[in-house]
Symmetry: C2
Subunit: 524 residues, 2 copies
């Protein structure tokens, strides 16, 4: 057995995270040629929007896709963000798990520090070529460089560095990819960008497709959205391990000030309350906390009441903005939107659900010659096109009884159902970031949001239907006016023309108005 064990472990190796994702690239969204191209566009657009938002800039993003050969494309993406300091460019594009987003409690589209490096990796393994980056922070200098990734070490390889004068800010990235393909389906980059426009009415996005089509989504609103700020973790969401990690990195002098400064809703009074429930002297240094101590503190926290996590750092799109975006992009016959009040999952992570329904116009999904319903899922405004089956939003949409809201056979209607989940931490089911895990609290909020827009749109539809029914009755009655007038005239000897006019006036009067006012009270 010794030899067997030794023989087996002769094969023992250590691998880098880049090797892991190279082998398991479907986990990053590189599965299928269309999805792969959409993933690349997603990563670059997401980074551009996040960067603009963090710097308080109205985003102006251009995406251009050019076909170079069979399953072979060039993707170019340009943003007017703050730019990337020279020292960080390599790591942003060619080192996994490096970034500004991973460790902060902040609401952003990206959150893992993997995406852009995934693109570089995919370019490299399909074409052997580096990606090309031009960036400037408006410091008078433009930095231009080719970047590859040393997969075994998960480190950037910098080539052909250039630096020259220039006076702008932003980032331009260009990469060449094989094993990708473009189409106009609901999974393609075009749809990705259309949905991005719906959820980001403050962004101007220009898309130039391989067939030369140029689509521009202009800003529907010109206000820079408030910058999302990092929020403090809430005590109720803390594990013992978290608490220890924060404590051991704290520069505060006492456990007491450490608690008050580090956590959300932790007042001096609350810290006192906790101290009394434990055997720990809160004047000790925070880095002296042991697992045992931390366990005592967490147990005490469970017994103490706290205000729910502050949600002021969550930035939903907002009902007004969603309305504008829907009108701008979908031009629907009617629509309804709602932004739910903030809620909390896992005890400590705040989130907000927003939903909208658009009916008619350009809403819905074109299937061949006919139109059907489409579900537009978003996480922190980034569209989720794939893995719909694993996503909590899809599950809830399928649970809602749309019949109740006048949307019978909703699948066959020109309807767009829009849901955006906003949070400092979106619980994705995988690194591909395409499905939100089915967590009870999120499930419930999505359901409430959809029921609310359902009721609103149901009202519209009911009114519309009554209007239509009235209109039909009126038209039917008007059709018989000449005959009825002739018959009455023959009987009474009255003037036929006059009778006709009187009858028409009677009908017009009875069926005037928008046709549903009198029964308005019926709605709930």
């Amino acid at each position: 057995m010794v030899e067997k064990a030794e023989a087996i472990f002769k094969e023992f190796r250590e691998h880098s995270i880049a090797e892991f994702f190279k082998k398991n690239r479907q986990m990053l969204g590189y599965a299928g040629k269309i999805r792969s191209l959409t993933t690349i566009v997603h990563e670059y657009v997401t980074n551009g929007l996040d960067a603009c938002e963090e710097a308080g800039i109205l985003p102006d993003i251009t995406v251009k896709i050019k076909q170079l050969g069979h399953d072979h494309y060039e993707v170019y993406c340009e943003d007017n963000g703050p730019g990337i300091p020279k020292t960080h460019v390599g790591k942003v594009f060619a080192q996994m798990l490096a970034g500004t987003k991973f460790h902060r409690f902040i609401q952003q589209r990206g959150q893992q520090g993997i995406g852009a490096t995934g693109c570089t990796l995919y370019a490299q393994i399909t074409t052997g070529k580096p990606i090309h980056v031009i960036t400037s922070t408006k410091n008078g200098k433009v930095y231009e460089v080719d970047i590859m990734i040393d997969v075994k070490r998960n480190k950037p390889v910098i080539m052909n560095e250039k630096e020259y004068d220039g006076d702008w800010h932003g980032t331009k990235v260009r990469g060449e990819f094989k094993e990708v393909t473009f189409n106009w389906s609901e999974y393609g980059p075009g749809e990705y960008i259309r949905r991005t426009a719906v959820a980001n009415p403050h962004a101007k996005i220009t898309f130039i497709a391989p067939d030369g089509r140029k689509i521009t989504y202009n800003r529907a609103v010109s206000v820079v959205p408030e910058r999302a700020k990092p929020s403090k973790p809430h005590p109720k969401g803390l594990t013992i391990d978290d608490l220890l990690e924060y404590a051991h990195h704290s520069k505060e002098r006492t456990i007491r000030t450490f608690l008050v400064k580090t956590f959300d809703r932790m007042s001096n009074a609350k810290a006192d309350e906790i101290e009394k429930l434990t055997s720990i002297d809160f004047k000790r240094k925070p880095d002296s906390l042991t697992w045992k101590d931390a366990e005592e503190i967490i147990d005490a926290i469970k017994k103490v009441k706290f205000l729910a996590p502050s949600t002021k750092e969550l930035k939903p799109i907002g009902e007004k903005q969603i309305k504008k975006a829907i009108l701008n992009v979908l031009e629907p016959q009617f629509h309804a939107v709602v932004t739910r009040p903030p809620s909390v999952y896992r005890g400590g992570v705040p989130f907000i659900v927003e939903a909208g329904v658009a009916y008619g116009g350009k809403a819905g999904r074109v299937v061949g010659d006919s139109v059907g319903a489409e579900i537009m899922r978003f996480a922190n405004r980034a569209p989720l096109l794939f893995d719909a089956g694993a996503d909590v939003i899809t599950k809830v949409v399928n649970e809602v009884d749309w019949n109740r809201y006048g949307l019978k056979k909703v699948d066959t209607l020109p309807v767009s159902i829009i849901v955006n989940v906003v949070s400092t931490y979106i619980p994705y089911t995988s690194a591909g970031k395409q499905a939100i895990a089915d967590i009870e609290e999120i499930h419930k909020e999505v359901k409430f949001a959809l029921m609310e827009v359902g009721r609103q749109i149901g009202g519209h539809i009911r009114r519309e239907r009554k209007k239509y029914e009235k209109q039909t009755k009126k038209m039917t009655l008007l059709k018989y006016v000449p005959e009825v007038a002739a018959a009455v005239a023959a009987l009474t000897g009255d003037n036929k023309k006059e009778l006709e006019m009187k009858l028409v006036k009677m009908i017009e009067k009875k069926y005037s108005g928008n046709g549903a006012d009198e029964e308005e009270g019926e709605e709930q």
Copy 2:
């Protein structure tokens, strides 16, 4: 803008893979208290079975779960595998992306080198405690140790090492976990182990539950399954990048011998054919290959015909063994199984689909008082309990028209539908390894397999129904025998008793046999 960019990038950090999975633990299956406990059992059982298989040992696995408090459990797992050499124990249990499985083309349950370390991480962040490991390779020494993980560095921390005399082989691991819970649902460890027994008839598995219940699944077959061996990659599945990586690590002297030795189905004749299609001198050293050269070779490979990948290294459970396992565990009224011929996806990865259907007995899923259908999904014999919605097997099961096979309202029947996908590389949708990606070739094979077992079981059911109908007719007729006999006796004066006996004999004769033989030909 300079200051803004600098300010943003002041937050730039680098993280380890362990930090990544600590934050995103739902990606490893740590989402929900039941799923988390099942994930732990899954990782340990999988490692035990893989180790036994690789060493050619009939597995004898014991899993014991003990409740220590509210949402607080101890998991103990013991296997009789070859044991782990002392120098590797730390890395096996506390270093992510280290292992023997990641880089080889071999059919095993585990394939990523993350699982066992994930358990250590979860023990650590929920209880602050190390896991305890005892192992021996039958070298006369037993090694016992406590292991934690240095999350920031993704390195093992070894504590309380002991070494003493002993004469056995195997590994025992014990860990303490919080934020986990046990139940007997279809997502719990009990169900996980039941399904493992179905797919591993050669394993003896003992499960001791927190409530003291002890369940033993005895071996249904006592033959050690053939050891899965690493297979060579097939040329048609190669990317340029793969080819370069193999070439740069090759010890062969020429490109020609490198190609012939490294790849499946690559004969000397094929290598010659490829050389002629390129401008490359195949007497050059393999590590001299450039991207351009490799591109030429891959283009040439596309033009050359190869035999399909050899599949002799794939080890399905086998129809006979599945039958035995089904009878052993599910004791069904009838059943059908099929092992499909090997197939290939992505051009180069071989796989086999096996399927079974069991009806009646202990088959199906108990829902309250009634029984319903259950889908048992397996990947290389490891049960997949979660993320059913994202899995290709679930999709296909839902696509199959079970009515055609006499399984009307299949959801409500006592049916277990079993599918095992066997491959050197299972394309999981995420690191949680619970769903197989919907890849066209796999989709098709699963469908064929299910249609085949459907037809078989359909035959059984049709025969069974006929038998039942016959039986019913017979009983009805027998019921009237006394009356008929009495009436006839009154008419003819014959002996009533004799007439009765004659009538019964006639009926018995007509409705003898299993009742369906005469129409056997009807089946397709």
